[in-house]
């Protein structure tokens, strides 16, 4: 199964979202600190590319609705380890729905939502 790698998606975010999206599979990457680098806790989520996963991700992105224009890098990882990075660009407003964001997500990562597993 494909996964989307997203920086800044926290464990607290995952706990929040799992309540409304219990079928979403969200894991966290073990980011090994590099030698001399020290700093704030960095979280990187791995969201399974299913309908439930993308719906949870859409809900998370909508938290930044007041930001207006949102630009976010998404790294797609396939089961064989291949990676490609896409950039989601979307304008968020009070009227933007989760379905709107979900549709943009699907287009950005080049996935036909109707072919995805539910969970």
């Amino acid at each position: 199964m494909d996964h989307l790698r997203i920086e800044g998606f926290s464990r607290l975010d995952a706990l929040d979202l799992v309540q409304d999206h219990p079928d979403a599979r969200i894991d966290f990457e073990e980011a090994v600190p590099r030698d001399a680098e020290h700093g704030e806790l960095a979280t990187v989520a791995l969201v399974a590319v299913t309908i439930a996963g993308l719906q949870a991700l859409a809900a998370w992105l909508l938290k930044d609705r007041k930001q207006g224009h949102l630009e976010r890098k998404l790294e797609m990882i396939t089961p064989d380890g291949a990676r490609r990075t896409e950039t989601l660009r979307i304008h968020l407003s009070e009227s933007t729905s989760q379905a709107d964001v979900l549709r943009e997500l699907g287009q950005t990562i080049g996935v036909d939502l109707s072919t995805l597993d539910a969970s």
Binding site: L12, D35, A36, E37, E40
Partner: protein, 577 residues
């Protein structure tokens, strides 16, 4: 580096902040916005620990190894290969050994250390917080109220910030971390520091002051020349040197757990914190420290040996390199520049525009807004000067911020950064700016060369058995020993650590994000010495009330003698987390 969180490099002390542009406020004499407060306190604490005898020694070890690999790359000279490998092994093991402590202290500063303007000798992170995050000078000078009332309002504002949704979420995220794995050092290190604090405070009442405790802890480990002497004991091969150093660090930390009747001479301690400003950073690299602090029972000869060995290492790093011409512009002055600037905390950079007002006179604009109204150049020409760059720095130890103004020029086939001005809105101190302008202050150079070394070093090491030796050391028990060491420091009871493994607190709290937030708020309130009612008022917007949080935790947390979120006998909030 990810752009979404702040980081600092131990070798160069170079910091990179998320939302860095918020620090431009300092160049305009304004307070830094609340959203970067936590990041600044966190990274300032790292910077303070890395600008220490031990921090600078680790940096010098890495720089010495980098020098040698460069020489090897240039002329094939690997005559000091064994020495370099031993040094690097010690460096790598100690950096990982100290990582939980380092992150634990930075998180302790973020969440638990009170910003007290009446402190006798506030730590540099606290001092910077008071000066630049909460505007203490502005409050005192602009207010008709008494200093006491000003301090009350300041404390209220600090508490409001500490219990804000942003900080509560940060604390909640920490509590959700696992105790093991690649990010395990955050929660484990934090809990170790907190428990060391509680135990020290029980034995020595003065150490109930979290900032004083953090300063004492730093002096004990990071400012310990005895540790420096052991790090630089080249008579020992790398593996045994690394183990000796690790064991010594544990003994130093254990001292805090067993202060007993040891009386601390606080006058001598505070005197030892008095910093020496305006000294040459190369001959006096301990800008963050005053006198070496020697605990009762420490070996003074050990301390003297550490001072001497570090000085010899400085000389080693500064020895001129025989560089081919194409490398000289980038590298010829890199090592002295690095040592001269390592105590300065870079905050951000922004492009600007020089608008000429007369001969060598002009103003500086950023995004069309005038930042500096009228500047006169004394030693530089403004001929064809137009595009400039502003870099904002914080000198935590001289208690000032300043902004450099620079341009790029072409030199042969490369761009060179020329700093032609330094501006500070604070009172000018004799000699400070003159000393600054003797340094290169070229952040791009520091990053480029540091990255070059970190890319080059693996190639050097791949041709040796270094990686096998290091991996073997970790796999044959050193990693387990590190883990056990910090667990023994962090927990009174192994049953607690056992239950927390895996998902942190999430499982114990039934996977409820609201409850985790409530617990985070209680822990923050406990460190601030607040009652449940006060915290409830500050967190009125949270989905779960403080009262409900306390009730739910009482049902789920089976260790009342190690409270997660509770009320103490005096009616104040209590937490070991």
């Amino acid at each position: 580096m990810s752009g979404l969180h702040s980081q600092i490099n131990l070798v160069s002390n170079d910091s990179v902040f998320h939302d860095a542009q918020a620090f431009l406020a300092l160049s305009r004499g304004r307070d830094v916005p609340p959203l970067v407060r936590s990041s600044l306190i966190h990274e300032a604490t790292h910077h303070w620990c890395f600008t220490s005898p031990v921090g600078s020694t680790l940096s010098l070890l890495s720089l010495s190894a980098s020098r040698s690999t460069l020489q090897w790359a240039l002329d094939g000279d690997d005559s000091d290969l064994d020495r370099v490998l031993d040094d690097l092994l010690t460096y790598r093991v100690l950096v990982e050994w100290l990582r939980p402590l380092s992150e634990g202290m930075a998180l302790f500063a973020e969440f638990d250390v009170r910003l007290d303007p009446t402190a006798r000798t506030p730590s540099p992170p606290v001092d910077a917080g008071l000066l630049y995050l909460f505007g203490l000078p502005r409050r005192l000078s602009g207010s008709e109220e008494s200093p006491t009332r000003v301090r009350w309002h300041l404390t209220d504002d600090v508490n409001r910030w500490r219990l804000s949704p942003h900080v509560v979420s940060r604390k909640a995220e920490l509590l959700l971390q696992p105790l093991e794995g690649a990010t395990g050092h955050y929660l484990l290190g934090y809990l170790a520091v907190k428990r060391l604090w509680r135990r020290a405070a029980k034995q020595v009442p003065e150490l109930a002051d979290a900032d004083l405790f953090m300063t004492y802890l730093r002096k004990l480990v990071y400012a310990d020349y005895g540790l420096v002497a052991r790090i630089l004991d080249r008579s020992r091969p790398g593996p045994s040197r690394a183990l000796v150093v690790a064991e010594y660090v544990f003994d130093r930390l254990s001292h805090l757990a067993d202060l007993g009747d040891a009386a601390v001479d606080w006058d001598a301690f505070h005197e030892a914190l008095t910093r020496v400003d305006n000294a040459d950073p190369i001959t006096n690299p301990d800008r963050a420290d005053g006198l070496p602090y020697v605990l009762r029972g420490d070996d003074v000869d050990d301390v003297r040996r550490g001072i001497r060995l570090r000085w010899e290492l400085v000389q080693e790093v500064l020895k001129p390199l025989d560089l081919p011409p194409e490398f000289r512009p980038l590298l010829a002055d890199f090592f002295p520049s690095m040592l001269r600037e390592r105590h300065l905390m870079w905050l951000c950079a922004t492009p600007g525009r020089w608008v000429r007002l007369g001969d060598k006179m002009g103003r500086v604009e950023v995004d069309g807004e005038v930042v500096y109204e009228s500047l006169t150049l004394t030693n530089a020409s403004d001929e064809s000067l137009q595009d400039v760059q502003l870099d904002v720095y914080l000198d935590l130890y001289a208690r000032r911020t300043f902004t450099t103004i620079s341009t790029d020029r072409d030199d042969a086939d490369r761009r060179v950064r020329d700093v032609f001005g330094v501006i500070s809105l604070e009172q000018r101190e004799e000699g400070y700016f003159e000393e600054l302008l003797r340094t290169r202050l070229d952040r791009d150079q520091i990053r480029r060369v540091t990255n070059m070394f970190s890319t080059q070093l693996p190639h050097y090491l791949d041709s040796t058995n270094f990686n096998d030796v290091l991996t073997g050391l970790w796999d044959r028990g050193v990693r387990d020993l590190l883990d056990e060491t910090y667990r023994s420091l962090a927990f009174d009871d192994t049953r607690v650590s056992g239950r927390l493994e895996g998902s942190g607190l999430a499982q114990l709290l039934g996977g409820s994000a609201d409850l985790v937030r409530g617990v985070a708020a209680v822990t923050l309130g406990a460190s601030a010495g607040l009652s449940p009612d006060v915290v409830a008022g500050l967190c009125a917007g949270q989905p779960l009330s403080i009262a409900d949080t306390l009730a739910l935790v009482a049902r789920r947390w089976p260790w009342p003698d190690q409270p997660l979120a509770a009320i103490d006998p005096h009616g104040f909030l209590q937490s070991h987390f």
